[in-house]
């Protein structure tokens, strides 16, 4: 009769949490498009969107509406099932990663301990890693199903880029694992709150992880799959209407999620630096403050992503492979070995 004792409130609690986090991710992604245009404009001495609403704040809604109103075109020569599956996969994998991220401390609501994390699984990092690798299927399937040379080249480029950069990314992560001693993301954050942020111990690891994150999100300087000038927008060239919107949206969600993951792994997650917030107890507002801090860190990372995009030109394909395999991979390996030796010597 174990099932009858099942705590049904946990279902409700998780459901609300999932809805809230997906909504937040979508809203952040929406306003990332606005921020991207504004930052691009400011870096180029322009004004950016300023017509829809005050300061152009309603621009994302207008863009979304426009995409919905556009004609839906599925090319005759395309594989229809895969053509529709592509953007779906991109969107699903982009939002799925948010499940294991600890968004705040465990808080107390009506006498219940509510962790602000959808699933505190003990293989958190592996899960993130697995889902991020799945993300390339959206690009590959979309590019393949389009039955277009440019899209196919873009899809192949995207796949090879992902595979190349995942290695260095994984190795950079292993160094973090060695320090925290757990794959569980909540433990990694707790460890950082007690012993200081991982960026202090792993500056090189963070740099490698950050460069790889740029590549995994298909952001400039690694945006080869959608290279506007050589591949004509690459894998989503044949897409129109909201399917195109999903692809563009998935990119921004990916960016948001990877910003949050970087903040969680290297910058102490929801930890406020130089403040012992553990002494504040676990009222609901502590969770909100922690969440706000995490969001602030994520927003700073998103700004960094955009700042880089509007500064650095795109890598050539051979340069990309060169950097990934000949520079980042050995560096990440060396970083891992060094960390292993130091951890072993200090016996931490």
């Amino acid at each position: 009769m174990y099932l009858l004792q099942f705590d049904w409130f946990i279902v409700l609690e998780k459901f609300i949490l999932i809805a809230a986090i997906v909504t937040i991710a979508l809203v952040v992604a929406m306003y990332s498009t606005y921020a991207e245009r504004k930052i691009a404009a400011f870096l180029q001495d322009r004004r950016g969107p300023n017509r829809a609403g005050p300061f152009g704040l309603l621009q994302p809604m207008a863009d979304g509406l426009k995409l919905f109103m556009k004609e839906e075109i599925i090319p005759l020569a395309s594989s229809k099932f895969l053509f529709i599956l592509g953007p779906m996969l991109a969107m699903i994998t982009a939002t799925m990663t948010s499940a294991v991220i600890p968004w705040g401390t465990t808080i107390e609501i009506a006498g219940r301990q509510v962790p602000l994390q959808i699933a505190d699984i003990n293989i958190g990092i592996l899960y993130v890693f697995g889902v991020v690798s799945l993300g390339v299927y959206g690009i590959m399937i979309g590019g393949w199903a389009s039955n277009n040379k440019f899209s196919l080249i873009a899809a192949i480029r995207g796949a090879s880029q992902m595979i190349s950069y995942e290695l260095a990314m994984g190795l950079a992560l292993i160094a973090v694992l060695m320090i925290s001693g757990s794959l569980r993301l909540s433990v990694i954050v707790q460890e950082q709150i007690q012993h200081g942020w991982n960026i202090i111990y792993q500056p090189l690891g963070f740099l490698i992880f950050f460069i790889c994150a740029l590549a995994e999100c298909n952001r400039t300087p690694f945006d080869l799959p959608e290279a506007e000038n050589e591949l004509n927008f690459g894998y989503h060239q044949e897409y129109s209407s909201m399917k195109l919107g999903f692809y563009l949206f998935a990119e921004y969600i990916n960016m948001f999620i990877s910003s949050v993951i970087m903040a969680t792994l290297f910058f102490g997650g929801y930890d406020i630096p130089f403040v012992n917030e553990g002494a504040w107890g676990n009222a609901w507002w502590v969770g909100v403050v922690g969440f706000g801090v995490l969001m602030l860190k994520a927003v700073l990372f998103i700004f960094l992503f955009m700042w880089i995009r509007w500064t650095i030109p795109r890598f050539r394909y051979d340069q990309l492979m060169n950097l990934g395999w000949k520079k980042l991979l050995p560096l990440a390996l060396a970083n891992m070995l060094l960390t292993a030796v130091v951890v072993l010597l200090l016996n931490r």
């Binding site: 400011f42 870096l43 180029q44 001495d45 322009r46 004004r47 880089i308 509007w310 500064t311």
Partner: protein
């Protein structure tokens, strides 16, 4: 070798140093440059709200003038049409009938007067050719239109508002005539 101009610069072809090979210092420098642009003054003018002033001799859309009593000055002599290098102006003359003295200044007037704005090059020769002070170039430019027909301006589009019945509109339209102010 002697340089052909004073502007030629010696290119540094030394192999890159370890620092340069890392790229990161240069990338950070470049990002500093873009970041400094965040705070620069923007040269953009918010167009419909703010407008750049035209020069006093700006030549824009033509206007057909009236005299103080609101009578059309044009006598359909055709000198503007002859002067026009783009052949944008066409007109048809008509004789003033008794009782129309309050409408037209002289015995002959333009029953039809059209300027094709797609042909017009805004040279201002029509204004110079006119012996009757009837046509002037204003400080406004041709607004956009959806079809070609919309760019053929009829007499109703070109005539200045009547100073007797619509003094406000007349003053406003008069103000757009640049060279008339002198």
């Amino acid at each position: 070798m002697q340089a052909l101009t004073k502007r030629s610069k010696q290119v540094d072809r030394r192999p890159m140093t370890a620092m340069e090979k890392m790229y990161l210092p240069s990338i950070i420098k470049g990002m500093g440059i873009t970041f400094s642009h965040l705070f620069k003054k923007k040269p953009t003018i918010n167009y419909p709200e703010q407008q750049r002033p035209f020069s006093a001799v700006f030549r824009g859309v033509q206007i057909l003038n009236r005299d103080e009593e609101g009578r059309e000055r044009c006598t359909a002599c055709g000198l503007c049409a002859v002067a026009c290098p783009a052949e944008a102006i066409t007109m048809e003359a008509a004789e003033r009938q008794p009782g129309e003295e309050n409408l037209y200044r002289e015995e002959k007037y333009a029953a039809k007067y059209e300027i094709n704005m797609l042909r017009c090059i805004f040279c201002g020769f029509c204004e110079e050719a006119c012996p009757k002070d009837a046509i002037y170039l204003t400080q406004t430019f041709t607004p956009a239109n959806y079809g070609r027909e919309g760019f053929i301006y009829k007499k109703e589009d070109l005539l200045i508002p009547n100073p007797v019945t619509q003094p406000e509109e007349y003053a406003k339209a008069k103000g757009t005539i640049g060279k008339d102010i002198k």
